[in-house]
């Protein structure tokens, strides 16, 4: 187990370097970021040159990358064009997005798995068909439509919520955005759980458990659910990273100043430091989440062993 974890951690290093290098190159291909800083006019060449020097943009890309990576390991992610250190941007953006992600994941787990179990146990019944139809609708409607619609109905027409989230972005305000963000994944979780439960319901160990005379809820939670959760856990695990990075649409609609907003601004202003910094952290989140998922397998199914 310990060796497995170490091996996995070591594997992260090339992935990490490769991912950051790719992002670095991609942002740099877009051209000179200073050009966009002066609005609809040309920056005067002397100031532009001076700015390039300050941000290290006058050096060749490979050298910029090495300097950047060197700084990253000391915790210095550089400075955004508005003079703020990127770490400062991160310290305001990540907590907000993490809260939003937690809300979304909680929705996925609670609603998704519950619906999945209910429909999986009652396959073919009206409840099952109803939920299947519903998930189909949710999957096929784009997030921005759901988001704008809920914002308009709940926020403007009925006045139940504020249409925009304040800069504090507390949990209470994030419930509706979290639900919107979770909606598509939630439908997938429901379907995954349903299929998995329906399949395992007929397996030998469930029949044995029932034959032993165990109470139904114990059969379902201890035997059936635990074994059926493996694909679901995989999905939710990888979804953590996807939700954090992919919240751009939701964050824009509900005015949430999180990672998506900063990334969007960074790309628009072609701010290499911001984009690379945020993506680097997101890559790390992805990698760690994947590792945790793999480790969770062993907990759910003791037959799985790591050497």
């Amino acid at each position: 187990m310990g060796r497995y974890v170490i091996r996995r951690l070591l594997q992260m290093i090339p992935v990490f370097i490769g991912a950051t290098l790719l992002i670095f190159l991609m942002v740099n291909v877009m051209g000179d970021p200073i050009a966009g800083l002066c609005g609809d006019r040309q920056c005067d060449p002397a100031t532009a040159a001076q700015l390039k020097k300050e941000f290290g943009l006058d050096k060749p890309v490979w050298q910029q990358y090495l300097t950047y990576m060197g700084n990253v390991f000391t915790g210095d992610f550089g400075t955004a064009f508005n003079g703020q250190p990127v770490t400062e941007l991160m310290s305001t953006a990540f907590p907000v997005t993490i809260r939003l992600t937690i809300v979304a994941i909680v929705f996925e787990i609670v609603i998704g798995i519950t619906l999945g179990v209910v429909t999986g146990l009652r396959r073919g019944r009206p409840v099952d068909t109803g939920v299947l139809l519903l998930t189909l609708v949710v999957i096929s409607v784009p997030t921005f439509v759901t988001g704008l619609l809920l914002q308009l109905l709940l926020g403007v027409e009925w006045g139940w919520i504020k249409p925009s989230v304040s800069s504090d972005a507390e949990f209470g305000e994030l419930i509706v955005p979290g639900l919107v963000l979770a909606s598509v994944s939630l439908a997938y979780v429901t379907r995954l759980t349903r299929t998995s439960i329906a399949e395992n319901k007929r397996s030998d160990y469930v029949r044995t458990a029932i034959a032993k005379g165990l109470p139904r809820h114990r059969v379902v939670t201890r035997h059936l659910l635990r074994n059926s959760l493996i694909p679901v856990v995989t999905f939710i695990g990888t979804d953590i990273g996807a939700l954090m990075g992919g919240a751009i649409v939701t964050e824009r609609i509900f005015n949430i100043h999180g990672v998506g907003f900063q990334l969007y601004q960074g790309i628009l202003r072609q701010n290499t430091q911001t984009v690379v910094g945020f993506v680097t952290v997101l890559v790390l989140v992805f990698l760690v989440a994947n590792l945790l998922v793999d480790l969770l397998y062993a907990v759910l199914d003791p037959r799985i062993r790591y050497a």
Binding site: R41, Q151, P163, I175
Partner: protein, 544 residues
């Protein structure tokens, strides 16, 4: 503590699900207690640090307009440059100026505003090592090249030799050339005075800028919100009529508009294009649509031989005549743009140099004439024009496609014109500075100060800072020089208009339309208006 937070969350969840209660802090909206009520307004994250000489976009400029007052101020209605802190600005030769600062002005930290406050600030702005993006505003002052050498040069001075403090109240400015309208440029935010704390504790000042305007900054959370309070001891006459303004950063102007509709926001100063159709129904009288000093044009790459042949002026004029400006401004912009008939802006007024119809026939839609002109001029270079624009911000795609449609229809050729989107604004600017444009491209111009000079010289003078098409014409340059040397304003304006006629005869850039500022506000507000820079006149807004 932990338990309490959880309990609050649960309570909030329940409340949000059941009732209208929102659990945010929401405290910023409530009254400030001292002197009037606070209003909230939409804002965008400023792109650059908030320093007067470093702010070149509207969002940062908005704040500077609230916390700074300069020697001159542009009248929010007429746009005329009026004395603010300047008691008098004297000159005999349009090149040497003696500026006297009024008594009784202080910064909000109590420090007196003196001649030195201006001289220090201008020196700071002009010095290359401070990376100020508006440094070129000081380029006419003597000694600029020493403090701000051209690229590759070494900076030999920290201060402008053309600036001299005479005494507490007076300083002199020596320019490198005659520039009769120089005093009128002094209302631009880059010329604002700065307190000593700006120089002694720069980082601290940037966290919470201190100025001498009707508002002071109470708190500033970068990227999300700024709270401005009325400065009770403000010595000027244009005191704030409200208790303060909370500027909230929005990720999307559609969300800001939704918030206005839901009653969470008082003022939106940029009505999203998608809402223009509904805005009259939604807001009625509370929707403003007033002219601003912005003109959209199509510029041409004169560095490309194809666009610089004899007769190519006929092709350009032909293209201009093939664009149905009226229809495009009506259908796409819902009349928030006005078809352009000269190269300036209506906000200048007739005295200031705006001359409706100066473009004449060349800006009238006439497909037949367009076709004929283009044929006479040798046809479209390469048989097709590609109009470049940046696709990331604004709704440029829509109007470029419409312009192309109009041209295609006029020429009976489906392929005469196509749009050429560029991914990001930075890349778009890149291609322009690298002279990589192969056809016409969009060129927007927002004035720095309401002078006809500002609409012509930076854009069309040989090698001027924003002459993106690299157009060059001796007659035009001569007329601009003459106009600048003229001490009589009316005559100067007249000469500038002559220069504009040269522009027309060569069709150096196709004027498309004048842009309006648009804003919407809640029922709580009254006396809302937009100044010629399309920024709300915050200090005059009344809150009930």
């Amino acid at each position: 503590m932990r338990g309490a937070t959880h309990a609050k969350w649960v309570a909030c969840a329940a409340a949000a699900a059941l009732t209208a209660t929102a659990c945010g802090s929401g405290g910023s909206d409530s009254g400030s207690g001292d002197g009037g009520t606070v209003l909230s307004s939409s804002w965008g994250d400023p792109q650059n640090p908030l320093e007067p000489a470093n702010t070149n976009e509207v969002q940062g400029g908005k704040v500077l307009d609230m916390v700074f007052r300069s020697l001159k101020r542009y009248n929010p209605e007429t746009g005329a440059a009026e004395d603010m802190l300047a008691e008098k600005i004297d000159t005999t030769d349009s090149q040497n100026f003696t500026i006297t600062v009024k008594d009784g002005w202080t910064f909000s930290n109590g420090e007196k505003v003196t001649a030195k406050s201006f001289v220090d600030a201008w020196n700071y702005g002009a010095s290359l090592k401070n990376n100020q993006k508006n440094a070129y505003f000081f380029e006419y002052i003597d000694g600029y090249t020493a403090t701000h050498p051209a690229e590759g040069g070494k900076q030999t001075a920290d201060t402008l030799s053309g600036l001299k403090v005479v005494n507490d109240k007076t300083f002199t400015v020596k320019l490198t050339q005659k520039f009769s309208t120089f005093p009128d440029t002094l209302g631009y935010p880059a010329f604002a005075p700065l307190p000593q704390s700006f120089f002694s504790d720069h980082a601290g000042w940037l966290e919470k800028p201190v100025g001498n305007g009707p508002y002071t900054i109470a708190s500033y959370t970068k990227g999300s919100q700024m709270e401005l309070k009325k400065w009770a001891d403000y010595p000027g006459e244009d005191k704030a009529q409200n208790g303060g303004v909370t500027l909230k950063v929005y990720t999307d102007n559609n969300t800001a508009y939704t918030d206005l509709m839901a009653g969470n926001l008082d003022l939106v100063d940029d009505v999203p294009a998608a809402q223009l159709k509904n805005v009259k129904n939604d807001l009625g009288d509370r929707y403003l649509n007033t002219p601003a000093g912005i003109i959209q044009t199509l510029a041409f790459p004169f560095y490309d031989k194809k666009w610089n042949t004899t007769g190519s002026d006929k092709v350009r004029t032909g293209l201009s005549r093939a664009i149905d400006r009226e229809q495009i401004t009506d259908t796409i912009f819902q009349k928030t743009r006005t078809p352009a008939t000269d190269w300036t802006s209506p906000v200048l007024g007739e005295e200031g140099g705006f001359k409706a119809g100066l473009c004449g026939d060349a800006c009238d839609y006439d497909p037949a004439a367009a076709k004929k002109l283009i044929q006479e001029g040798g046809g479209l270079p390469g048989g097709q024009v590609k109009i470049s624009y940046n696709a990331d911000t604004g709704s440029h795609k829509q109007w470029v496609d419409a312009v192309c449609n109009s041209i295609n229809n006029a020429l009976d050729n489906d392929k005469a014109c196509v749009g050429n989107p560029v991914g990001t604004f930075a890349d778009f600017r890149n291609q322009i500075t690298d002279r990589k444009m192969s056809g016409p491209f969009r060129a927007g111009w927002q004035m720095d100060y309401p002078l006809i000079q500002n609409f012509l010289q930076p854009l069309y003078y040989t090698n001027a800072s924003s002459n993106d098409g690299k157009w060059s014409n001796k007659d035009f340059d001569t007329l601009v020089n003459q106009a600048n040397a003229e001490t009589d304003t009316a005559k100067a304006v007249e000469t500038f208009q002559k220069a504009e006629e040269v522009l027309r005869d060569n069709m150096a850039a196709i004027p498309l339309w004048y842009q309006n500022g648009s804003a919407g506000y809640s029922e709580r507000l009254s006396n809302v208006k937009l100044n010629p820079f399309s920024v709300p006149v915050y200090n005059e807004i009344k809150v009930s």
